[in-house]
Amino acid sequence: MQNGRIYGYMLSEQELIDGCRKGERGFQQALYERYCRKMMVVCLRYSKAVAEAEDILQEGFVKVFNALKDFRQESKLETWITRIMVNTALNSQRKKMYLYPMVDVEKIDVPEDEVSLSGIHFSQLLEMIQSLPQGCQVVFNLFAIEGYNHKEIAGLLGISEGTSKSQYARARSLMQAKLLKESSYYEKYGEGKV
């Protein structure tokens, strides 16, 4: 603590939680500063633009501060905050999915070549994910990164398990195609781009 400001890195997780539970703005800011960058990545994965991601981040952190008194500390604080961010993002996506419902994809061309992620920066991956169609993007995030299975995803999004699977297969094929394209670019020009 210096000049009245609370620096998050100087505090333990428990101290941060206790301070936030008392509603002290300094502790809330410290907690925000500790996790906002990681959570921004989570929000960006579920959105198409920075502004949209920031809206989700803002809404998510307000929920975090309001719900912190109920946090039972059975998981790590970061995991709990991530779950809140994902749920907030899903709420925001659900409205869009209501307008553009997900359907089963009949035919998917999966590239035969296996792709490697080595040498690919996360920001490039982020761009690729953001460029996926709406439904694919959400299912891809939930399955590949958050680790949900298709049954859980179906329950979360109110779709059938088959739809979840087909959407994921489509997302994966699109990602692989993008990654292959990127890999061939590296083979040709090296990693200088990154």
């Binding site: 920031e54 920001s123 590949a144």
Partner: protein
């Protein structure tokens, strides 16, 4: 193999984002802070609402205490005034008593003048000649005890108009103006002066007035200048009040309204006693009619009313409303005997037995006329003209309103109609009066709430659930049966607000 490759892909994807960080813009935190402040504000608002309700409850409590206190003081005042009137040789020396004063044409003006001058002391017209020292001394002389009165008057030499207003009668005037002062005036040492005289602590200044009046020597003379000043001040206050009312805005300006409405509900007879052991009653004499009468008095049923009400606001939170309602109580019971009668054309007719028959026939006559029959339903419809008077406390007085009402209703019995559920039996009606078994006038207690919604500048619609309970039985005492129906009804009222 392929599945393993897939898992590897997802694992590497997960790892790629594991340590990933991107800074959001500064405005995100600012917005979060704003949202948190808003949420905090909402919480504060709720707390504020709670404290407002608490304050309202405190005011009610304080007013109740104040009311009891005022009642006590007023009662004591009355008693002491009566005592003084008895103990004092009324007008033996030409002095005016309190009652005498009322008969004199200009006394009211004098009183008003005195009140106003005590409020505007020191600002009176220069035309009034101050003579306060004389009055102060004289007062001391009259009371025969050194109290704070002369000191008070001598504090404002040359300017004190209280004494000088009635300089022709300094003894009385000095004391009366002292007695007329209100709490907060500069004569706040009065209680101590009263204590010095070893009077009851509940003695008010008015008591002093009664005691000293016999010592008055002459009739007070009304000073026209002071009278004019008093009127001017009163007008000034009225103008001030009008301005304040205007400031309160249109929403607050609900001082007078009228409403039309209707209500429907049900009633249960919570207390119904047939005094069969008492031989003197009509009920106990009519052995054959008794079971039917018993059923009639115990019957529950439906009630509906419609009427017009007028209400006015008597203070910021208190309202008073009254009106006229047409009230109907309809109950049903089963009878198994009928009364046989002949009409003018000597035809045999039958009608249902009811309490009305107890008033018309003697025992032998009625028992001879009663004939047993198959059970049938009888509907008894009682009609009243009800005049409710209620005081209400406004818990919430905004677009949505919430009000608690309590009061009494004078119910004037109009008539009852006995109608059997059979075409063979005649319908009979009995208006109120000597021949009716029902009391002509009943007094009922009312308790209810009023939830309302205001729309437009002139209208408010309200829902009024409430209960009504008569203070005594609705039947005449000579009948020997008691019945006090507890009514619960819900009313709907449309209110027109006058501006």
């Amino acid at each position: 193999m392929k599945n393993m490759e897939r898992e590897k892909f997802e694992e590497s994807l997960k790892n790629a984002f594991d340590k990933a960080e991107i800074s959001p813009s500064d405005k995100v935190w600012m917005n979060i802070e704003l949202d948190l402040e808003k949420a905090k504000g909402g919480h504060l608002k709720r707390r504020l609402m709670f404290y407002q309700m608490l304050a309202a409850a405190s005011v009610v409590f304080a007013m109740a205490i104040g009311g009891v206190g005022f009642y006590n003081i007023f009662n004591q005042d009355q008693r002491s005034a009566d005592n003084a009137a008895v103990n004092t040789p009324a007008t033996s020396d030409g002095l005016t008593s309190a009652s005498d004063k009322t008969t004199q044409g200009n006394d009211l003006a004098i009183q008003e003048e005195r009140n106003s001058t005590s409020r505007t002391e020191g600002t009176a017209s220069p035309a009034i000649t101050p003579d306060n020292t004389a009055s102060g001394n004289e007062v001391q002389g009259i009371s025969g005890q050194g109290n704070s009165l002369p000191r008070d008057h001598s504090q404002t030499p040359g300017k004190n108009s209280d004494a000088s207003n009635f300089s022709d009668n300094p003894q009385k005037d000095g004391l009366e103006s002292f007695a007329d002062t209100k709490p907060g005036d500069r004569f706040t040492e009065l209680p101590r002066a009263i204590d010095d005289r070893a009077l009851s602590p509940l003695y008010s200044p008015k008591e002093i007035k009664v005691i000293i009046q016999p010592q008055k020597q002459e009739e007070p003379v009304v000073d026209p200048v002071l009278q004019m000043l008093a009127r001017l001040e009163q007008r000034e206050r009225e103008v001030q009040d009008e301005k304040e009312n205007k400031k309160k805005g249109k929403n607050q300006n609900e001082n007078l309204w009228t409403s039309v409405g209707f209500a429907a509900g049900s009633f249960n007879t919570v207390q119904s006693v047939a005094s069969s052991p008492a031989p003197a009653t009509l009920y106990s004499n009519m052995s054959l009619a008794a079971p039917i009468v018993d059923q009639e008095t115990k019957a529950s049923g439906y009630t509906y009313s419609m009427g017009v009400n007028v209400g006015t606001k008597i203070s910021e939170r208190w309202v008073f409303q009254g009106g006229v309602n047409y009230l109907t109580h309809a109950s049903e019971y089963t009878a198994n005997n009928v009364v046989a009668a002949t009409n003018n054309f000597q035809q045999q007719r039958f009608r249902a037995v009811s309490t009305n028959d107890l008033m018309h026939s003697d025992e032998a006559d009625l028992n001879n006329k009663i004939v047993y029959s198959a059970p049938y339903n009888v509907n008894n419809s009682m009609r009243y003209l009800s005049i409710p008077m209620q005081a209400g406390y406004l818990l919430v007085n905004k677009t949505f309103g919430l009000q608690l009402n309590a009061g009494v209703a004078t119910d004037l019995f109009l008539q009852n109609t006995i109608k059997a559920d059979s075409d063979q039996l005649d319908k009979t009606s009995q208006p109120g009066g000597a021949d009716s078994p029902y009391r002509s006038v009943n007094l009922s207690g009312l308790l209810g709430t009023e939830v309302s919604y205001r729309f437009g500048h002139h209208y408010r619609v309200s829902l009024n659930p409430g209960i009504r309970y008569p203070f005594n039985t609705i039947y005449k005492s000579e009948l020997g049966v008691q019945s006090t129906p507890l009514t619960f009804d819900v009313g709907l009222r449309f209110r027109y607000i006058f501006h």
